[in-house]
Symmetry: C2
Subunit: 325 residues, 2 copies
Protein backbone atom coordinates (compact mmCIF):
# COMPACT_ATOMS: atom_id res chain seq x y z
CA UNK A 1 0.00 0.00 0.00
CA UNK A 2 1.49 3.36 -0.99
CA UNK A 3 1.42 6.03 1.71
CA UNK A 4 -1.08 8.80 1.17
CA UNK A 5 0.58 12.09 0.24
CA UNK A 6 0.92 14.28 3.31
CA UNK A 7 -1.33 17.30 3.53
CA UNK A 8 0.74 20.35 2.64
CA UNK A 9 0.63 23.62 4.52
CA UNK A 10 -0.73 26.02 1.89
CA UNK A 11 1.14 28.91 3.52
CA UNK A 12 4.52 27.45 2.70
CA UNK A 13 3.60 25.56 -0.47
CA UNK A 14 6.85 23.85 -1.47
CA UNK A 15 8.43 23.42 1.95
CA UNK A 16 7.73 20.90 4.70
CA UNK A 17 8.53 22.53 8.07
CA UNK A 18 8.34 19.19 9.90
CA UNK A 19 11.74 18.37 8.41
CA UNK A 20 13.52 21.10 10.32
CA UNK A 21 13.43 22.57 13.84
CA UNK A 22 13.54 26.26 12.90
CA UNK A 23 12.73 27.69 16.36
CA UNK A 24 15.63 25.72 17.87
CA UNK A 25 17.91 26.75 15.03
CA UNK A 26 17.03 30.44 15.39
CA UNK A 27 17.48 30.34 19.17
CA UNK A 28 20.99 28.87 18.92
CA UNK A 29 22.04 31.37 16.28
CA UNK A 30 20.53 34.34 18.13
CA UNK A 31 22.43 33.34 21.27
CA UNK A 32 25.70 33.09 19.33
CA UNK A 33 25.17 36.46 17.63
CA UNK A 34 24.13 38.14 20.90
CA UNK A 35 27.25 36.89 22.66
CA UNK A 36 29.46 38.17 19.85
CA UNK A 37 27.68 41.55 19.81
CA UNK A 38 28.13 41.88 23.58
CA UNK A 39 31.86 41.48 23.14
CA UNK A 40 32.06 44.30 20.57
CA UNK A 41 31.57 47.32 22.79
CA UNK A 42 33.64 48.21 25.84
CA UNK A 43 31.82 47.83 29.18
CA UNK A 44 29.39 50.61 30.14
CA UNK A 45 31.15 53.26 32.20
CA UNK A 46 33.99 53.74 29.73
CA UNK A 47 34.20 57.04 27.85
CA UNK A 48 32.20 58.26 25.92
CA UNK A 49 29.62 56.62 28.17
CA UNK A 50 26.44 58.12 26.79
CA UNK A 51 27.34 57.19 23.23
CA UNK A 52 28.16 53.60 24.18
CA UNK A 53 24.95 53.38 26.20
CA UNK A 54 22.92 54.65 23.23
CA UNK A 55 24.58 52.10 20.92
CA UNK A 56 23.92 49.29 23.41
CA UNK A 57 20.32 50.36 23.94
CA UNK A 58 19.44 49.89 20.29
CA UNK A 59 21.71 46.92 19.65
CA UNK A 60 20.10 44.96 22.50
CA UNK A 61 16.44 45.83 22.30
CA UNK A 62 15.20 42.43 21.21
CA UNK A 63 16.08 42.21 17.51
CA UNK A 64 15.47 38.92 15.72
CA UNK A 65 19.08 38.96 14.37
CA UNK A 66 17.72 37.94 10.97
CA UNK A 67 20.49 39.53 8.89
CA UNK A 68 23.40 38.03 10.86
CA UNK A 69 21.65 34.66 10.80
CA UNK A 70 21.40 34.97 7.00
CA UNK A 71 25.17 35.58 6.85
CA UNK A 72 25.88 32.50 8.99
CA UNK A 73 23.37 30.31 7.12
CA UNK A 74 24.69 31.33 3.69
CA UNK A 75 28.29 30.59 4.72
CA UNK A 76 27.26 27.18 6.06
CA UNK A 77 25.20 26.46 2.96
CA UNK A 78 28.42 27.03 0.97
CA UNK A 79 30.52 24.83 3.23
CA UNK A 80 32.26 27.25 5.61
CA UNK A 81 31.89 26.84 9.40
CA UNK A 82 29.78 29.70 10.71
CA UNK A 83 32.16 30.89 13.43
CA UNK A 84 34.53 31.91 10.62
CA UNK A 85 32.16 34.68 9.52
CA UNK A 86 30.77 35.72 12.92
CA UNK A 87 32.37 39.24 12.87
CA UNK A 88 30.81 39.84 9.44
CA UNK A 89 27.43 38.68 10.78
CA UNK A 90 27.75 41.18 13.66
CA UNK A 91 28.60 43.91 11.16
CA UNK A 92 25.28 43.35 9.38
CA UNK A 93 23.37 43.71 12.67
CA UNK A 94 25.26 46.97 13.35
CA UNK A 95 24.23 48.34 9.94
CA UNK A 96 20.63 47.23 10.46
CA UNK A 97 20.52 48.82 13.93
CA UNK A 98 22.03 52.11 12.71
CA UNK A 99 19.37 52.27 9.98
CA UNK A 100 16.59 51.77 12.55
CA UNK A 101 17.99 54.47 14.87
CA UNK A 102 18.17 57.03 12.06
CA UNK A 103 14.79 55.98 10.56
CA UNK A 104 13.09 56.49 13.92
CA UNK A 105 14.33 60.11 14.28
CA UNK A 106 11.75 62.91 14.33
CA UNK A 107 13.06 64.19 10.97
CA UNK A 108 12.37 60.74 9.45
CA UNK A 109 9.59 58.34 10.53
CA UNK A 110 9.31 59.94 14.02
CA UNK A 111 8.76 56.73 15.99
CA UNK A 112 8.70 56.68 19.79
CA UNK A 113 8.69 52.89 20.16
CA UNK A 114 10.53 50.03 18.50
CA UNK A 115 10.29 46.40 19.60
CA UNK A 116 8.34 47.54 22.66
CA UNK A 117 11.18 49.82 23.85
CA UNK A 118 11.41 53.59 23.63
CA UNK A 119 13.53 54.50 20.60
CA UNK A 120 17.13 55.68 20.93
CA UNK A 121 16.42 59.41 20.57
CA UNK A 122 13.58 59.22 23.11
CA UNK A 123 16.01 57.91 25.73
CA UNK A 124 19.28 59.67 24.84
CA UNK A 125 18.24 62.70 22.78
CA UNK A 126 18.47 63.32 19.06
CA UNK A 127 22.13 64.31 18.97
CA UNK A 128 23.28 61.15 20.75
CA UNK A 129 20.98 59.01 18.57
CA UNK A 130 22.41 60.43 15.34
CA UNK A 131 25.94 59.79 16.63
CA UNK A 132 25.07 56.29 17.88
CA UNK A 133 23.86 55.45 14.36
CA UNK A 134 27.01 56.94 12.83
CA UNK A 135 29.18 54.98 15.25
CA UNK A 136 27.39 51.68 14.55
CA UNK A 137 27.73 52.12 10.78
CA UNK A 138 31.44 52.86 11.19
CA UNK A 139 31.86 49.91 13.56
CA UNK A 140 30.31 47.64 10.92
CA UNK A 141 33.05 48.53 8.45
CA UNK A 142 35.72 48.15 11.13
CA UNK A 143 34.44 44.61 11.71
CA UNK A 144 34.28 43.79 8.01
CA UNK A 145 37.84 45.05 7.43
CA UNK A 146 39.12 43.87 10.78
CA UNK A 147 41.98 41.56 11.60
CA UNK A 148 39.52 39.42 13.62
CA UNK A 149 37.66 38.36 10.48
CA UNK A 150 40.94 38.21 8.52
CA UNK A 151 42.39 35.75 11.03
CA UNK A 152 39.29 33.53 10.98
CA UNK A 153 39.27 33.38 7.19
CA UNK A 154 43.01 32.86 6.87
CA UNK A 155 43.10 29.87 9.20
CA UNK A 156 40.16 28.14 7.49
CA UNK A 157 40.68 25.26 5.09
CA UNK A 158 41.71 26.95 1.81
CA UNK A 159 38.71 27.83 -0.34
CA UNK A 160 38.65 27.70 -4.12
CA UNK A 161 39.08 30.99 -5.99
CA UNK A 162 40.40 34.22 -4.50
CA UNK A 163 42.64 34.63 -1.45
CA UNK A 164 41.07 35.50 1.92
CA UNK A 165 42.06 39.19 1.81
CA UNK A 166 40.64 39.60 -1.69
CA UNK A 167 37.37 37.98 -0.65
CA UNK A 168 37.18 40.25 2.40
CA UNK A 169 37.64 43.37 0.24
CA UNK A 170 35.01 42.21 -2.25
CA UNK A 171 32.65 41.55 0.67
CA UNK A 172 33.22 45.06 2.02
CA UNK A 173 32.52 46.65 -1.34
CA UNK A 174 29.35 44.57 -1.69
CA UNK A 175 28.01 45.66 1.70
CA UNK A 176 28.91 49.33 1.19
CA UNK A 177 27.03 49.33 -2.12
CA UNK A 178 23.97 47.61 -0.66
CA UNK A 179 23.86 50.03 2.29
CA UNK A 180 24.56 53.26 0.40
CA UNK A 181 22.98 55.76 -1.95
CA UNK A 182 22.04 53.09 -4.51
CA UNK A 183 20.82 50.70 -1.81
CA UNK A 184 19.36 51.11 1.65
CA UNK A 185 19.93 54.87 2.11
CA UNK A 186 18.49 55.53 -1.37
CA UNK A 187 15.44 53.44 -0.43
CA UNK A 188 14.92 55.39 2.78
CA UNK A 189 15.15 58.66 0.84
CA UNK A 190 12.53 57.43 -1.66
CA UNK A 191 10.35 56.37 1.29
CA UNK A 192 10.63 59.85 2.85
CA UNK A 193 9.79 61.49 -0.47
CA UNK A 194 6.84 59.17 -1.12
CA UNK A 195 4.94 60.12 2.03
CA UNK A 196 1.56 61.55 1.16
CA UNK A 197 2.00 60.70 -2.55
CA UNK A 198 -0.27 58.28 -4.40
CA UNK A 199 1.32 54.81 -4.17
CA UNK A 200 2.16 52.98 -7.39
CA UNK A 201 3.50 49.43 -7.67
CA UNK A 202 6.86 50.46 -9.21
CA UNK A 203 7.43 53.03 -6.43
CA UNK A 204 6.46 50.62 -3.64
CA UNK A 205 8.69 47.93 -5.13
CA UNK A 206 11.60 50.37 -5.50
CA UNK A 207 11.31 51.36 -1.85
CA UNK A 208 11.00 47.78 -0.58
CA UNK A 209 13.80 46.41 -2.74
CA UNK A 210 16.17 49.22 -1.77
CA UNK A 211 15.22 49.95 1.83
CA UNK A 212 15.00 46.33 2.98
CA UNK A 213 15.82 43.97 0.14
CA UNK A 214 19.33 45.06 -0.83
CA UNK A 215 20.83 44.59 2.63
CA UNK A 216 19.10 41.24 3.16
CA UNK A 217 20.31 39.99 -0.19
CA UNK A 218 23.78 41.36 0.58
CA UNK A 219 23.81 39.44 3.91
CA UNK A 220 23.41 36.21 1.96
CA UNK A 221 25.91 37.12 -0.75
CA UNK A 222 28.37 38.17 1.97
CA UNK A 223 28.18 34.73 3.60
CA UNK A 224 28.58 33.06 0.22
CA UNK A 225 31.44 35.31 -0.87
CA UNK A 226 33.45 34.79 2.32
CA UNK A 227 32.86 31.03 2.00
CA UNK A 228 34.27 31.07 -1.53
CA UNK A 229 30.93 30.15 -3.14
CA UNK A 230 30.83 29.12 -6.80
CA UNK A 231 29.13 31.47 -9.29
CA UNK A 232 26.11 29.09 -9.39
CA UNK A 233 25.85 29.15 -5.60
CA UNK A 234 26.06 32.97 -5.53
CA UNK A 235 23.36 33.22 -8.22
CA UNK A 236 21.11 30.95 -6.13
CA UNK A 237 21.68 33.12 -3.05
CA UNK A 238 21.04 36.29 -5.07
CA UNK A 239 17.65 35.10 -6.37
CA UNK A 240 16.67 33.73 -2.96
CA UNK A 241 17.79 36.96 -1.25
CA UNK A 242 15.84 39.22 -3.55
CA UNK A 243 12.65 37.20 -3.10
CA UNK A 244 13.15 36.93 0.66
CA UNK A 245 13.71 40.67 1.10
CA UNK A 246 10.56 41.63 -0.78
CA UNK A 247 8.49 38.89 0.92
CA UNK A 248 9.75 40.11 4.30
CA UNK A 249 8.81 43.72 3.64
CA UNK A 250 5.36 42.88 2.26
CA UNK A 251 4.72 40.83 5.41
CA UNK A 252 5.90 43.79 7.51
CA UNK A 253 3.37 46.01 5.74
CA UNK A 254 0.62 43.45 6.29
CA UNK A 255 1.48 43.18 9.99
CA UNK A 256 1.35 46.95 10.23
CA UNK A 257 -2.30 46.72 9.17
CA UNK A 258 -3.43 43.62 11.07
CA UNK A 259 -0.95 43.33 13.96
CA UNK A 260 -1.49 44.44 17.51
CA UNK A 261 0.65 47.08 19.13
CA UNK A 262 1.44 44.83 22.08
CA UNK A 263 2.71 41.99 19.92
CA UNK A 264 4.77 44.08 17.48
CA UNK A 265 6.05 46.52 20.08
CA UNK A 266 5.52 49.49 17.83
CA UNK A 267 2.65 51.72 16.84
CA UNK A 268 0.53 49.79 14.36
CA UNK A 269 -1.32 51.47 11.51
CA UNK A 270 1.37 54.17 11.35
CA UNK A 271 2.03 53.47 7.68
CA UNK A 272 -1.55 54.27 6.72
CA UNK A 273 -1.61 57.36 8.93
CA UNK A 274 1.58 58.56 7.29
CA UNK A 275 0.14 57.86 3.83
CA UNK A 276 2.99 55.43 3.19
CA UNK A 277 3.29 53.47 -0.01
CA UNK A 278 2.64 49.82 0.93
CA UNK A 279 1.44 46.56 -0.65
CA UNK A 280 -1.78 46.36 1.44
CA UNK A 281 -2.62 49.92 0.33
CA UNK A 282 -2.35 48.76 -3.29
CA UNK A 283 -3.72 45.21 -3.17
CA UNK A 284 -5.39 44.66 0.20
CA UNK A 285 -4.24 42.26 2.93
CA UNK A 286 -5.15 38.90 1.38
CA UNK A 287 -3.61 39.53 -2.03
CA UNK A 288 -0.48 40.95 -0.34
CA UNK A 289 -0.12 37.80 1.76
CA UNK A 290 -0.55 35.66 -1.37
CA UNK A 291 2.20 37.57 -3.18
CA UNK A 292 4.52 37.24 -0.19
CA UNK A 293 3.97 33.46 -0.13
CA UNK A 294 4.59 33.28 -3.87
CA UNK A 295 7.88 35.11 -3.44
CA UNK A 296 8.94 32.83 -0.58
CA UNK A 297 8.20 29.79 -2.75
CA UNK A 298 10.26 31.27 -5.59
CA UNK A 299 13.15 31.87 -3.19
CA UNK A 300 12.97 28.32 -1.86
CA UNK A 301 13.03 26.89 -5.41
CA UNK A 302 16.09 28.98 -6.24
CA UNK A 303 18.05 27.28 -3.44
CA UNK A 304 18.05 23.93 -5.27
CA UNK A 305 21.74 24.06 -6.35
CA UNK A 306 22.74 24.30 -2.66
CA UNK A 307 21.05 21.01 -1.76
CA UNK A 308 20.24 20.02 1.81
CA UNK A 309 22.81 22.46 3.21
CA UNK A 310 20.27 25.17 2.42
CA UNK A 311 17.50 23.63 4.56
CA UNK A 312 17.71 26.40 7.21
CA UNK A 313 17.37 29.05 4.48
CA UNK A 314 14.30 27.26 3.12
CA UNK A 315 12.75 27.14 6.57
CA UNK A 316 13.55 30.82 7.09
CA UNK A 317 11.73 31.85 3.92
CA UNK A 318 8.65 29.91 5.02
CA UNK A 319 8.86 31.51 8.48
CA UNK A 320 9.30 35.06 7.18
CA UNK A 321 5.95 35.07 5.40
CA UNK A 322 3.99 33.20 8.09
CA UNK A 323 5.35 35.11 11.12
CA UNK A 324 2.99 37.15 13.24
CA UNK A 325 5.59 39.48 14.74
Amino acid sequence: MTPRPRKRNPKTACFEPAEFDLPGYLKTRQTEVDAALHGLLPPVGRFPGKLLAAMRHSLFSGGKRLRPILVLAAAEACGLARHRVLPAACALECIHTYSLIHDDLPAMDDDDFRRGQPTCHKVFGEGAAILAGDALLTLAFELLAGSGLRQRLRTARPRPGRAAAERQLAALELIARAAGVHGMVGGQMADLEAEGQAASLPLVQFIHVHKTGKLMQASLLLGGLLAGATPAQQRALAVYGEALGLAFQITDDVLDVVGERARLGKNVGKDRQAGKATYPALFGVEESRRRARQLAARGIRALKPLGRAALPLQALAAYVVSREV
Copy 2:
Protein backbone atom coordinates in the same frame (compact mmCIF):
# COMPACT_ATOMS: atom_id res chain seq x y z
CA MET B 1 82.27 86.94 2.59
CA THR B 2 79.74 84.63 4.17
CA PRO B 3 76.09 85.45 3.43
CA ARG B 4 74.13 86.91 6.31
CA PRO B 5 71.57 84.46 7.72
CA ARG B 6 68.12 85.13 6.28
CA LYS B 7 65.54 86.66 8.58
CA ARG B 8 63.20 83.90 9.76
CA ASN B 9 59.46 84.23 9.98
CA PRO B 10 58.74 83.90 13.72
CA LYS B 11 55.29 82.44 12.96
CA THR B 12 56.74 79.36 11.35
CA ALA B 13 59.98 79.13 13.35
CA CYS B 14 61.75 76.11 11.88
CA PHE B 15 60.44 76.26 8.33
CA GLU B 16 61.38 78.55 5.46
CA PRO B 17 58.33 79.04 3.23
CA ALA B 18 60.40 80.62 0.46
CA GLU B 19 61.68 77.14 -0.38
CA PHE B 20 58.30 75.90 -1.46
CA ASP B 21 55.34 77.25 -3.45
CA LEU B 22 52.56 76.03 -1.17
CA PRO B 23 49.69 78.00 -2.79
CA GLY B 24 50.53 76.52 -6.18
CA TYR B 25 50.88 73.05 -4.66
CA LEU B 26 47.51 73.29 -2.88
CA LYS B 27 45.78 74.57 -6.01
CA THR B 28 47.00 71.66 -8.15
CA ARG B 29 46.02 69.11 -5.54
CA GLN B 30 42.60 70.69 -4.91
CA THR B 31 41.89 70.60 -8.65
CA GLU B 32 42.86 66.91 -8.83
CA VAL B 33 40.74 65.99 -5.80
CA ASP B 34 37.76 68.04 -7.04
CA ALA B 35 37.87 66.32 -10.43
CA ALA B 36 37.96 62.90 -8.78
CA LEU B 37 35.11 63.81 -6.40
CA HIS B 38 33.00 65.03 -9.33
CA GLY B 39 33.36 61.62 -10.94
CA LEU B 40 32.09 59.80 -7.84
CA LEU B 41 28.41 60.63 -7.96
CA PRO B 42 26.07 59.97 -10.87
CA PRO B 43 24.89 63.11 -12.73
CA VAL B 44 22.12 65.14 -11.08
CA GLY B 45 18.70 64.03 -12.29
CA ARG B 46 19.30 60.35 -11.55
CA PHE B 47 17.33 58.70 -8.78
CA PRO B 48 17.26 59.40 -5.79
CA GLY B 49 17.76 62.96 -7.01
CA LYS B 50 17.28 64.88 -3.79
CA LEU B 51 19.76 62.69 -1.92
CA LEU B 52 22.40 63.05 -4.63
CA ALA B 53 21.80 66.81 -4.73
CA ALA B 54 22.22 67.04 -0.94
CA MET B 55 25.48 65.04 -1.11
CA ARG B 56 26.77 67.24 -3.93
CA HIS B 57 25.77 70.44 -2.14
CA SER B 58 27.98 69.69 0.85
CA LEU B 59 30.78 67.98 -1.07
CA PHE B 60 31.21 71.01 -3.33
CA SER B 61 30.73 73.98 -1.04
CA GLY B 62 34.31 75.23 -1.12
CA GLY B 63 36.21 72.87 1.17
CA LYS B 64 40.01 73.21 1.38
CA ARG B 65 40.43 69.44 0.69
CA LEU B 66 43.00 69.33 3.47
CA ARG B 67 42.46 65.67 4.43
CA PRO B 68 42.67 64.26 0.89
CA ILE B 69 45.76 66.41 0.27
CA LEU B 70 47.32 64.89 3.41
CA VAL B 71 46.65 61.40 2.00
CA LEU B 72 48.29 62.30 -1.32
CA ALA B 73 51.23 64.09 0.33
CA ALA B 74 51.91 61.22 2.75
CA ALA B 75 51.88 58.66 -0.07
CA GLU B 76 54.28 60.79 -2.11
CA ALA B 77 56.51 61.36 0.93
CA CYS B 78 56.78 57.55 1.14
CA GLY B 79 57.53 57.13 -2.55
CA LEU B 80 54.17 56.20 -4.13
CA ALA B 81 52.75 58.28 -7.00
CA ARG B 82 49.72 60.16 -5.73
CA HIS B 83 47.25 59.06 -8.41
CA ARG B 84 47.57 55.54 -6.95
CA VAL B 85 45.80 56.62 -3.77
CA LEU B 86 43.33 59.15 -5.23
CA PRO B 87 40.19 57.07 -4.39
CA ALA B 88 41.39 56.81 -0.77
CA ALA B 89 41.94 60.59 -0.69
CA CYS B 90 38.35 61.11 -1.92
CA ALA B 91 37.10 58.74 0.78
CA LEU B 92 38.63 60.98 3.46
CA GLU B 93 36.84 64.03 2.04
CA CYS B 94 33.55 62.07 2.06
CA ILE B 95 34.04 61.21 5.75
CA HIS B 96 34.94 64.80 6.58
CA THR B 97 31.90 66.13 4.70
CA TYR B 98 29.51 63.66 6.35
CA SER B 99 30.81 64.75 9.77
CA LEU B 100 30.18 68.41 8.93
CA ILE B 101 26.63 67.71 7.69
CA HIS B 102 25.72 65.83 10.87
CA ASP B 103 27.53 68.32 13.17
CA ASP B 104 25.57 71.21 11.65
CA LEU B 105 22.16 69.60 12.36
CA PRO B 106 19.82 71.35 14.80
CA ALA B 107 20.22 68.50 17.30
CA MET B 108 24.01 69.07 17.27
CA ASP B 109 25.74 72.43 16.70
CA ASP B 110 22.70 73.90 14.88
CA ASP B 111 24.60 75.86 12.24
CA ASP B 112 22.83 77.61 9.35
CA PHE B 113 25.98 78.50 7.41
CA ARG B 114 29.19 76.68 6.51
CA ARG B 115 31.87 78.05 4.18
CA GLY B 116 29.50 80.91 3.29
CA GLN B 117 26.79 78.51 2.04
CA PRO B 118 23.56 77.51 3.76
CA THR B 119 24.10 74.14 5.46
CA CYS B 120 22.71 70.91 4.01
CA HIS B 121 19.65 70.68 6.28
CA LYS B 122 18.76 74.32 5.62
CA VAL B 123 18.54 73.59 1.89
CA PHE B 124 17.25 70.01 1.79
CA GLY B 125 15.63 69.45 5.18
CA GLU B 126 16.85 67.47 8.18
CA GLY B 127 15.83 64.03 6.93
CA ALA B 128 17.68 64.40 3.64
CA ALA B 129 20.72 65.87 5.45
CA ILE B 130 20.94 62.91 7.84
CA LEU B 131 20.69 60.51 4.90
CA ALA B 132 23.22 62.48 2.82
CA GLY B 133 25.70 62.15 5.69
CA ASP B 134 24.96 58.43 6.01
CA ALA B 135 25.41 57.94 2.27
CA LEU B 136 28.72 59.84 2.20
CA LEU B 137 30.13 57.79 5.10
CA THR B 138 29.08 54.59 3.35
CA LEU B 139 30.52 55.82 0.04
CA ALA B 140 33.85 56.44 1.78
CA PHE B 141 34.12 52.78 2.74
CA GLU B 142 33.03 51.69 -0.73
CA LEU B 143 35.92 53.73 -2.13
CA LEU B 144 38.42 52.39 0.39
CA ALA B 145 37.40 48.77 -0.30
CA GLY B 146 36.77 49.34 -3.97
CA SER B 147 38.24 47.64 -6.98
CA GLY B 148 39.29 51.09 -8.29
CA LEU B 149 41.82 51.53 -5.48
CA ARG B 150 42.69 47.82 -5.63
CA GLN B 151 43.59 48.11 -9.31
CA ARG B 152 45.73 51.23 -8.78
CA LEU B 153 47.66 49.59 -5.95
CA ARG B 154 48.07 46.27 -7.73
CA THR B 155 49.57 47.79 -10.87
CA ALA B 156 52.05 49.93 -8.92
CA ARG B 157 55.71 48.96 -8.64
CA PRO B 158 55.75 46.28 -5.90
CA ARG B 159 56.16 47.81 -2.43
CA PRO B 160 58.08 46.20 0.41
CA GLY B 161 56.07 44.37 3.08
CA ARG B 162 52.45 43.28 2.76
CA ALA B 163 50.53 42.59 -0.45
CA ALA B 164 48.25 45.30 -1.87
CA ALA B 165 45.00 43.69 -0.64
CA GLU B 166 46.39 43.32 2.89
CA ARG B 167 47.48 46.95 2.95
CA GLN B 168 44.06 48.03 1.72
CA LEU B 169 42.32 46.09 4.52
CA ALA B 170 44.65 47.51 7.15
CA ALA B 171 43.98 51.01 5.78
CA LEU B 172 40.23 50.43 6.01
CA GLU B 173 40.46 49.27 9.61
CA LEU B 174 42.62 52.28 10.47
CA ILE B 175 40.11 54.75 9.00
CA ALA B 176 37.09 53.05 10.58
CA ARG B 177 38.76 53.23 14.01
CA ALA B 178 39.74 56.87 13.59
CA ALA B 179 36.23 57.82 12.48
CA GLY B 180 34.23 55.77 15.00
CA VAL B 181 33.25 55.65 18.64
CA HIS B 182 36.86 55.83 19.85
CA GLY B 183 37.74 58.54 17.34
CA MET B 184 35.81 61.28 15.58
CA VAL B 185 32.27 60.28 16.62
CA GLY B 186 33.40 59.89 20.25
CA GLY B 187 34.96 63.37 20.08
CA GLN B 188 31.75 64.88 18.75
CA MET B 189 29.78 63.20 21.55
CA ALA B 190 32.19 64.62 24.15
CA ASP B 191 31.83 68.04 22.50
CA LEU B 192 28.02 67.83 22.70
CA GLU B 193 28.20 66.78 26.35
CA ALA B 194 30.69 69.52 27.23
CA GLU B 195 28.44 72.40 26.18
CA GLY B 196 27.79 74.72 29.08
CA GLN B 197 30.27 72.85 31.30
CA ALA B 198 33.41 74.47 32.70
CA ALA B 199 36.26 73.82 30.24
CA SER B 200 39.37 72.01 31.46
CA LEU B 201 42.55 71.37 29.48
CA PRO B 202 42.19 67.54 29.50
CA LEU B 203 38.60 67.79 28.26
CA VAL B 204 39.42 70.34 25.55
CA GLN B 205 42.37 68.23 24.42
CA PHE B 206 40.26 65.06 24.38
CA ILE B 207 37.67 66.74 22.19
CA HIS B 208 40.22 68.26 19.79
CA VAL B 209 42.30 65.10 19.48
CA HIS B 210 39.25 62.92 18.86
CA LYS B 211 36.94 65.21 16.92
CA THR B 212 39.59 66.59 14.54
CA GLY B 213 42.98 65.06 15.27
CA LYS B 214 42.31 61.35 14.81
CA LEU B 215 40.99 61.65 11.25
CA MET B 216 43.77 64.04 10.20
CA GLN B 217 46.40 61.72 11.61
CA ALA B 218 44.65 58.77 9.97
CA SER B 219 44.75 60.58 6.59
CA LEU B 220 48.53 60.67 6.84
CA LEU B 221 48.88 57.11 8.10
CA LEU B 222 46.55 55.96 5.32
CA GLY B 223 48.78 57.49 2.66
CA GLY B 224 51.84 55.96 4.31
CA LEU B 225 50.24 52.55 4.76
CA LEU B 226 49.07 52.29 1.14
CA ALA B 227 52.55 53.37 0.01
CA GLY B 228 54.12 50.57 2.04
CA ALA B 229 55.88 52.95 4.44
CA THR B 230 58.54 51.62 6.81
CA PRO B 231 57.74 51.58 10.55
CA ALA B 232 60.04 54.63 11.03
CA GLN B 233 58.19 56.51 8.30
CA GLN B 234 54.80 55.64 9.82
CA ARG B 235 56.00 56.79 13.26
CA ALA B 236 57.11 60.10 11.75
CA LEU B 237 53.71 60.55 10.09
CA ALA B 238 51.92 59.63 13.33
CA VAL B 239 53.77 62.25 15.42
CA TYR B 240 53.38 64.87 12.69
CA GLY B 241 49.68 64.04 12.28
CA GLU B 242 48.90 64.29 15.97
CA ALA B 243 50.63 67.68 16.26
CA LEU B 244 49.05 68.95 13.04
CA GLY B 245 45.53 67.95 14.10
CA LEU B 246 45.75 69.70 17.45
CA ALA B 247 47.44 72.79 15.95
CA PHE B 248 44.70 72.95 13.32
CA GLN B 249 41.90 72.79 15.85
CA ILE B 250 43.47 75.38 18.18
CA THR B 251 43.80 77.72 15.19
CA ASP B 252 40.14 77.04 14.34
CA ASP B 253 39.16 78.05 17.88
CA VAL B 254 41.29 81.21 17.64
CA LEU B 255 39.71 82.13 14.31
CA ASP B 256 36.29 81.63 15.86
CA VAL B 257 37.20 84.41 18.31
CA VAL B 258 39.06 86.83 16.03
CA GLY B 259 37.80 85.98 12.53
CA GLU B 260 35.18 87.82 10.59
CA ARG B 261 31.97 86.18 9.46
CA ALA B 262 32.51 87.23 5.87
CA ARG B 263 35.97 85.68 5.67
CA LEU B 264 35.19 82.40 7.46
CA GLY B 265 31.74 81.96 5.94
CA LYS B 266 30.22 80.86 9.22
CA ASN B 267 28.88 82.52 12.31
CA VAL B 268 31.86 83.66 14.38
CA GLY B 269 31.84 83.71 18.15
CA LYS B 270 29.40 80.76 18.17
CA ASP B 271 31.71 78.67 20.33
CA ARG B 272 31.65 81.25 23.13
CA GLN B 273 27.90 81.68 22.83
CA ALA B 274 27.46 77.93 23.09
CA GLY B 275 29.82 77.81 26.09
CA LYS B 276 32.12 75.49 24.13
CA ALA B 277 35.35 74.18 25.57
CA THR B 278 38.14 75.85 23.55
CA TYR B 279 41.81 76.85 23.89
CA PRO B 280 41.16 80.61 23.75
CA ALA B 281 38.61 80.19 26.57
CA LEU B 282 41.35 78.56 28.67
CA PHE B 283 44.49 80.49 27.67
CA GLY B 284 43.44 83.55 25.65
CA VAL B 285 44.17 84.19 21.98
CA GLU B 286 47.90 84.94 22.09
CA GLU B 287 48.90 81.96 24.23
CA SER B 288 46.69 79.70 22.10
CA ARG B 289 48.42 80.91 18.92
CA ARG B 290 51.82 80.31 20.54
CA ARG B 291 50.86 76.75 21.46
CA ALA B 292 49.61 76.07 17.94
CA ARG B 293 52.93 77.31 16.47
CA GLN B 294 54.86 75.16 18.95
CA LEU B 295 52.85 72.10 17.86
CA ALA B 296 53.45 72.86 14.18
CA ALA B 297 57.18 73.13 14.84
CA ARG B 298 57.13 69.79 16.67
CA GLY B 299 55.32 68.21 13.74
CA ILE B 300 57.81 69.62 11.24
CA ARG B 301 60.76 68.26 13.26
CA ALA B 302 59.15 64.81 13.36
CA LEU B 303 59.20 64.65 9.55
CA LYS B 304 63.00 64.48 9.45
CA PRO B 305 63.20 60.73 8.58
CA LEU B 306 61.21 61.43 5.40
CA GLY B 307 63.75 63.94 4.07
CA ARG B 308 62.96 66.41 1.31
CA ALA B 309 60.02 64.31 0.11
CA ALA B 310 58.16 65.71 3.12
CA LEU B 311 58.63 69.36 2.13
CA PRO B 312 54.93 69.82 1.24
CA LEU B 313 53.92 68.43 4.64
CA GLN B 314 56.30 70.85 6.36
CA ALA B 315 54.84 73.76 4.43
CA LEU B 316 51.31 72.59 5.28
CA ALA B 317 52.03 72.61 9.01
CA ALA B 318 53.35 76.16 8.78
CA TYR B 319 50.29 77.19 6.77
CA VAL B 320 47.78 75.56 9.11
CA VAL B 321 48.79 77.72 12.08
CA SER B 322 49.25 80.97 10.15
CA ARG B 323 46.07 80.77 8.04
CA GLU B 324 43.39 83.39 8.46
CA VAL B 325 40.50 81.33 7.08
